[in-house]
Symmetry: C2
Subunit: 228 residues, 2 copies
Amino acid sequence: LIALDNVQKDYALGKTVIHAIRGVTLEVKEGDFLSIVGPSGCGKTTLLNMIGCIDQPTDGRVMFEGKDLKRLSDNAQAEIRLTKIGFIFQSFNLIPVLNIFENIELPLVVARVPRAKRRERVAYLVRTVGLEEFSDHKPDELSGGQRQRVAIARALVNSPDLVIADEPTANLDSATGDAVLSVMERLNREEKVTFIFSTHNPEVMRFAHRIVTLRDGAIASIENTERA
Amino acid sequence: LIALDNVQKDYALGKTVIHAIRGVTLEVKEGDFLSIVGPSGCGKTTLLNMIGCIDQPTDGRVMFEGKDLKRLSDNAQAEIRLTKIGFIFQSFNLIPVLNIFENIELPLVVARVPRAKRRERVAYLVRTVGLEEFSDHKPDELSGGQRQRVAIARALVNSPDLVIADEPTANLDSATGDAVLSVMERLNREEKVTFIFSTHNPEVMRFAHRIVTLRDGAIASIENTERA
Ligand SMILES: Nc1ncnc2c1ncn2[C@@H]1O[C@H](COP(=O)(O)OP(=O)(O)OP(=O)(O)O)[C@@H](O)[C@H]1O
Ligand SMILES: Nc1ncnc2c1ncn2[C@@H]1O[C@H](COP(=O)(O)OP(=O)(O)OP(=O)(O)O)[C@@H](O)[C@H]1O
Ligand SMILES: [Mg+2]
Ligand SMILES: [Mg+2]
């Protein structure tokens, strides 16, 4: 599904160059459940952004379903981001003027799903993340963990083939985090949805089939952790 | 140092009233190291904001050094927030147009600390949180955990008597989180700085002398965990 071929990412800062990702080669098959771990600043967000077609590598290639993302048109890239990939951002990126329901519904509106179907799908996801009583709250009328759950619901609403989650349980207590992870584990097991996570939380890591450890922008190790 | 007397906080949302905090009575002595835990949405941020004089209770009183915060003038409240309390926000609240150094330096500028002393103090804190190579980055040129560390350094820069930290290690790997917590533990032990944390992380909880468990806006239990 995803293939990274010697991917590099540099940031220019004044006269310095920051080598945030220094050559990552990695394959992710359909149905994989991958956890990316490593110290703060090691490059997890940068890597996930390139896999999710939100950012472009400085060098190397990111292949999605065999196609080099960099060589696709803007429209083709947008199509992939809208219909194939669900992205849960480290800082949520919710729309302040829309309430929870509208925030989660937005990808379906863009995908032109009919209204009745949208309502049903959004209501289901709102229940799944435990936010029924908060449907009409706006993001600034929610707790940190509630915002994180809205971001999670929004990423799942379009039934994507690939879900990319940047520290999706950082603001959640362990019970709520476990509930969210069980939903994802079930989607992975029953519908072969592919998951790529970054996390600092050992609890989250044990849901993974493979653990990729990143250090200073390069892969330090890949561990197979799938129980047979 | 801090006394909460039957504190209540209501939010109005359209015609509904959300009782975010439903009567909390609590005493915090100087040198205490308190951890507030509870499920996402139970009221931790709301409670911390009232203790830190960032928000006012709907009912009940928050006493700081024997004074009712609600009855102080705006200037007196601002003085307390600037010189007595360091606040680490759940979503950091960094200033986008200032770099790391300037963000951490800002409370010292407002407190009119002379330039040479400011530079020395900020440089010390930047080293303490491990961000020396990043001094000239702006917040959007940092990782999530790096931003969290800037927020931590800024909260400590004025040598406050009370540090309020809203999930201060949520975006940090365990090694970085432990380093930050050891700094706070030393400040608490050697300089009697009072700490009030909210956290979901059991690792953080074991640094606490007392653990307050919140549920649906009220205290469910208070546990003494200080090792003799
Ligand atoms: N401005 C607001 N208007 C209405 N309700 C609000 C507002 N701000 C917070 N709330 C509600 O108050 C409750 C407590 O929120 P709070 O942010 O204190 O929770 P929390 O314990 O910090 O949660 P988390 O662990 O997810 O950060 C939540 O249910 C939230 O939806
Ligand atoms: N726009 C930018 N300009 C310069 N450097 C940047 C920029 N964005 C990120 N960086 C740097 O790239 C490195 C990797 O950042 P990244 O956000 O990928 O880390 P991370 O592993 O997600 O960290 P965390 O666990 O703290 O979220 C960091 O050292 C960061 O300072
Ligand atoms: Mg990150
Ligand atoms: Mg909170």
